[in-house]
């Protein structure tokens, strides 16, 4: 069976090489039939990747420990569901998974655009083939998931912290996001290779970018939720390099999603968009590299890891290729349009882009700081939370405000008069909210107070936008309020989907501000019967319970929660001891108040044999808004993604192809 898997990967490599080489030659010479055959090779490479993945899945399901990879990441006791986590839990499997998604996306993207943009697709095929060459080559020659060995009796098992639903979904979403960014990159570069300076590539990939960006965003949020409920230190994001690795491409593609609107509307920012799309893809590769190479946990494992050097080399090639291509096509990308006014919609997009890119660059700087500082001074220094939080305030808060200001500005320019009219409500409400919060004592954290005030501004401006649009629609079409509202959204899915996403980001900001700037932490050593007070809650430690489960010895401290005179139920926080894996896991207890969004978070840090427990309790206000934001984010993204017949007809007219086929 392993031979079949290896053969499938070799075939996949061969097909990618053909797609890249024949595709490039055919596109250069204008050979239509050869071009089609290169495209078919790219599609066939997906089939080969599917075969390889199926071989590995079958090996996992059969517990075939003759496969080294299976033996290292699974065991007989591992539930079948988690064999999928194991499939992409290790280095080789995750690379294979990358290849599978890459070739699948590539096949879908070229098939969907084959009629509407044939000249573009002819050049997109070799670019995608080139990326597929790298990953299939790595799997064939450097890091094979199909290495075999004399089968041991049982496998090494999967890390218990990966055995949960979060870790089943989270990596998949991140990979869909990372790999999805390849498609806009390939179309951007394909457009340059085809000597097209227009917006066709952006139109062809708008939904791909949006979907990849949405996956990346939700994937990170699920990761944050996992950290919150499973890792158990009372937080959800720690500016860890691997977390930052996913955050940076997300920030850059956020910038890209906004700046392409300027190019579509005004034909501006063409060079900038090419740089952004290349930057997003490079950061996605860099993210995979960071997660997999181990360069940051210890610089010395870098030289040992076979993967690191190859990845760096490929990243260098991608950067050189993109920059050279953009430079060669500069005359094509130059635009004559100038910015009319600094107070216009396009200018606000420009500010948003600068802030987002500056923010991701500062994060990149922080991530690379240990390596850079060692190279320059010989002393390995690193930066942590305070560094990143500083920049989160410096760039994040203005971004938050811009989210409210931008949509209120008109394209080209906005007069002072309209400005005053549209800003009146949001500004008034946010000032009142700010004043009330200040009176309530929110001034204990200035960034928190600013975040709340700006959030109020954005929320009101979004509401104003919806009301204004619905009212106009009602007046023009003579519809009832609900009909006018739904047809308003249906006719402008991208715009109003975007506003819904903005609302989600605001909720996220409020949740982050509330839980990080206004949280309370108390620690106490309690004997049964004793209590601790935290922010109006009384936590009374009742007793200790022990039980044996299938694979762990579980200890739980039962703690009654009271607020004033009303009982809020019982929390059970404790530890699981896994004797086989020789591991102890903290099992935190969380009491969520779904009305106020506040959590009581309880950790039993240390359990003594005499029944004494060291507790750490936290009260995190508004933290549940973060998870609520995730659902609204998905909703908004779906609205913006939803197929729009009117839009397709408009685009068909603009680019002169038959809409029915598109």
């Amino acid at each position: 069976m392993a031979e079949l898997g290896r053969a499938a990967l070799v075939i996949c490599l061969g097909l990618s090489v053909y797609a890249a080489a024949a595709g490039a030659y055919a596109a250069y010479r204008g050979r239509r039939r050869l071009s089609l055959s290169a495209r078919n090779a790219l599609i066939a490479s997906f089939v080969a990747a599917v075969v390889a993945v199926l071989v590995l899945v079958a090996a996992f399901l059969r517990n075939d420990f003759g496969f080294t990879y299976v033996a290292e990441h699974s065991s007989r006791r591992l539930p079948a569901l988690y064999t999928f986590s194991a499939l992409w839990g290790g280095q080789e499997g995750s690379l294979l998974f990358w290849l599978l998604i890459l070739t699948g996306f590539a096949a879908a993207a070229v098939l969907l655009n084959r009629r509407s943009a044939p000249d573009l697709v002819a050049w997109v095929v070799p670019v995608l083939g080139g990326v597929a060459i790298f990953f299939s080559f790595m799997l064939v020659a450097v890091s094979s998931p199909f290495d075999t060995q004399p089968a041991p009796v049982d496998g090494a098992g999967l890390n218990p912290s990966l055995q949960n639903l979060h870790m089943l979904i989270h990596p998949v979403l991140l990979y869909l996001g990372y790999v999805g960014l390849t498609i806009p990159f390939a179309f951007g570069m394909g457009s340059l290779l085809a000597k097209r300076g227009d917006e066709r590539w952006i139109v062809a990939t708008r939904r791909w970018t949006l979907a990849a960006w949405g996956f990346l965003g939700i994937g990170q949020l699920i990761g944050a939720h996992w950290a919150y409920v499973e890792v158990g230190w009372g937080g959800y994001y720690a500016w860890d390099p691997v977390e930052n690795a996913a955050f940076m491409p997300w920030l850059v593609s956020t910038a890209f999603l906004h700046s392409v609107m300027v190019q579509e509307k005004k034909g501006m920012l063409r060079i900038w968009n090419m740089l952004l799309v290349a930057g997003g893809f490079v950061l996605a590769l860099f993210g995979t590299f960071l997660t997999r190479s181990g360069i940051l946990s210890s610089i010395h494992s870098f030289t040992e890891s076979p993967l690191g050097g190859w990845f760096l080399g490929f990243i260098a090639i991608v950067i050189a290729f993109s920059l050279a291509l953009i430079f060669l096509r500069l005359p094509l990308l130059r635009t004559k349009t100038k910015l009319d006014s600094l107070a216009s919609r396009e200018a606000s997009f420009l500010y948003n882009n600068l802030l987002l890119v500056a923010f991701s660059l500062t994060i990149l700087w922080g991530v690379l700081y240990p390596i850079l500082s060692e190279a320059v001074t010989g002393q390995r220094n690193h930066v942590s939370g305070p560094y990143y939080n500083f920049f989160l305030h410096v760039f994040g808060l203005p971004l938050l405000l811009l989210m409210g200001i931008g949509p209120l500005l008109a394209w080209r320019k906005t007069s002072l008069r309209t400005l005053a009219r549209t800003w009146a409500w949001p500004a008034a409400v946010s000032l009142v909210v700010g004043a009330i919060l200040l009176a309530l004592g929110a001034g204990s954290s200035i960034p928190g107070l600013i975040a709340y005030t700006f959030s109020a501004f954005v929320i009101v401006s979004i509401v104003v936008e919806f009301v204004r649009g619905t009212r106009a629609r009602k007046a023009v079409a003579g519809e009832s309020w609900p009909t006018a509202f739904s047809s308003l959204v249906a006719r402008n899915r991208r715009r109003y989907g975007g506003y819904v996403i903005h609302a989600a980001i605001v909720l996220l900001a409020i949740g982050i501000a509330g839980s990080s700037a206004y949280d309370t932490t108390r620690e106490a050593k309690l004997r049964p019967g004793q209590s601790m007070e935290i922010r109006g809650y009384t936590l009374t430690y009742r007793r200790l319970v022990q039980r044996e489960s299938e694979n762990a010895r579980e200890v739980r401290a039962l703690v009654d929660v009271r607020r004033g005179t009303s009982s809020e139920g019982t929390l059970s926080a404790g530890k699981n001891n896994y004797p086989v894996e020789r591991q102890v896991s903290n099992e935190v207890a969380i009491r969520s108040n779904l009305v106020t969004g506040e959590d009581v978070y309880l950790i039993a840090q240390q359990v003594e044999t005499d029944g004494t427990v060291f507790f750490k309790a936290e009260v995190l206000p508004l933290v549940n808004l973060i998870w609520l934001a995730g659902f609204i984010f998905i909703g908004g993204t779906l609205i913006a993604l939803w197929p729009d017949a009117r839009e397709s007809r408009r685009l068909a007219d603009r680019y002169g192809y038959a809409a029915a086929r598109a």
């Binding site: 890390n159 158990g232 210890s298 500056a358 220094n381 942590s384 591991q583």
Partner: protein, 128 residues
């Protein structure tokens, strides 16, 4: 475009300068051997290494006592730490912890102990 580039570079530089002047240049990352050799007495550093010996004591009260060794080396240093202990912590794991060297004992800063995830940072394969 040029304006945009100039603006972004200017903004970046300004903020960098601002930051470095406020906060200095980050925390040094050291291995136990470097910590002992350089004598970073009293300065806050991040110590990275492998947990060796049997951890004793209590992270809640008197402090958890253990030794840390270079991941690829033999130098070890005694560590005392209070605060949250991650699930993955145990003898043989690679960890990092912030703290200060005081009279030959590395005194950890509360709640700074982190473990390296062994599944993600799998070391060099011996089989391949």
């Amino acid at each position: 475009m040029r304006l945009a580039l100039a603006l972004s570079i200017a903004a970046l530089l300004a903020v960098f300068l601002l930051y470095t002047s406020i906060a200095g240049g980050g925390t040094p990352s050291l291995r136990p051997s470097q910590l002992l050799a350089n004598g970073h007495d009293g300065n806050r550093v991040t110590l990275s290494g492998k947990v060796v010996g049997h951890p004793t004591g209590n992270p809640g009260e008197g402090g958890l006592h253990f030794r840390m060794r270079d991941v690829n080396g033999t130098a070890t240093v005694a560590v005392v730490y209070r605060g949250t202990v991650p699930d993955m912590f145990r003898t043989g794991r690679d960890i990092s912890v912030d703290g200060r060297l005081r009279n030959g004992v590395f005194v950890g800063v509360k709640n700074t102990l982190v473990t390296k995830c062994p599944s993600k940072y799998s070391p060099k394969k011996s089989t391949s």
